[in-house]
Symmetry: none
Subunit: 131 residues, 4 copies
DNA sequence: GTGGTCTAGACCACA
DNA sequence: GTGGTCTAGACCACA
């Protein structure tokens, strides 16, 4: 379920946290599902338990999981959090796309990307899609 | 021309290099323009010359500048590099946008971003977008 | 394993990097083998850790090693790199040999060099050359 | 006649000296031909005269040219020198080819290079060429 | 312990 | 003056 890329420049604990974030956001790990214990995951990944602990603290701090003393860590209900995440992505996208525009990327090049993602049916005017 | 953010978690040398990348990619610093000397920039920014040197080495390694011993550092001709960079941005955009789609971002939300960047009048042809 | 030539005009960090390149390309240091730590090697060679760090950064930039923060530096899988290196050598050889031809070096003089390297018995097929 | 590559990592004076070496070794500049004056060449290349002077001293030290006080610099008779250069190239070739062998370059790959340089008529046995 | 960054300061080759 | 290398020494994040 969790894979580590030792060549990545991201610290291990962030990689682990990020992976869990995705799993939680996608609903693979539903609310109140128990997280694997720090120790078992440490053994499974052959990683120092401190690192797992750090990843879990990180996730808890961000609201993805909550910890119950003596029992373990559990997945939070993240409906609100997901909305937040969506906004972050839109903001990040704006920054990236703007950066590309500066480099000479045309609107149609971006539209082509959207076409690939969402299908092509309605690409000449998408204003009718807006609520 | 160069500003330092001491709050940023990015190392100084990367901040400096990144800033110059932008200036070079935007054409503010044209090919063969001499870069500020290591020492003068170090004084101007109140930063150790070694750190500037590191930033310049970094830029050289990436092909943004070239160095002539005893003379100084000069901006490279980065037309090929810029093309490459554009492709990278498109690829990165695809990844990010796809990630957003997974989170429930609709095409129209992305289109709204594009509208904001390129103007709204005409989204099938982008040559007339700039006011 | 690593020797320094203080007479050489090559910078220390390049000497060190080059030495490791050879060891890695020859397979003496196999993929994922941990490199000596920056500090331990610095002590062993009586060289400043910064210089070792620079050598390692150099190797990383060239793809010979990868670094895991807090853990150490490790040898990369360089099969692709080795192929590339082989091509570079052939290209360089062509340039050098051509330069020699211009100076009057005959084909037989070059063949003699090859004979010395690969053995003399059979120069149309080299699969049986090694004793 | 002389071209400068400011992107090269070789110092200017070496680039200039090397270029003259080639011209002299190839006989383009025959023995006793007068070299361009330091000043005129400096102007022509838009380079500091000191640098030209350094290149000429370098050439003189290696025996490629000789200087006559108050008159200028002249090309030496370099027949002996050419022989020396040839030997150097053969030695360098041996080192490079050996390095390639270590990387897995086969004799036939090298033979192919020789074929390209000298033509293919006699590549199965070149021992009859030897004096 | 491990790598990464940064400063202060020195020395060198080159132009 | 210009870049490049190196040492000594400090501090930080990460494992």
């Amino acid at each position: 379920m969790i894979t580590i890329d030792y060549q990545s420049k991201l610290p291990l604990y962030e990689q682990i946290a990020e992976r869990f974030q995705t799993l939680i956001l996608r609903g693979v790990l539903p609310p109140d599902r128990q997280m694997p214990s720090v120790r078992s995951l440490a053994v499974e990944l052959s990683i120092n338990p401190n690192t797992i602990q750090k990843a879990y603290s990180f996730l808890e701090q961000q609201g993805y999981i909550y910890s119950v003393k003596g029992r373990g860590n559990y997945v939070s209900d993240i409906t609100a959090l997901a909305e937040q995440k969506k906004k972050n992505i839109l903001k990040e996208a704006e920054r990236l796309l703007s950066c590309g525009k500066e480099m000479g990327v045309s609107r149609s090049e971006y539209s082509a990307v959207l076409d690939r993602l969402y299908g092509k049916e309605d690409n000449s005017d998408d204003r009718t899609e807006k609520p």
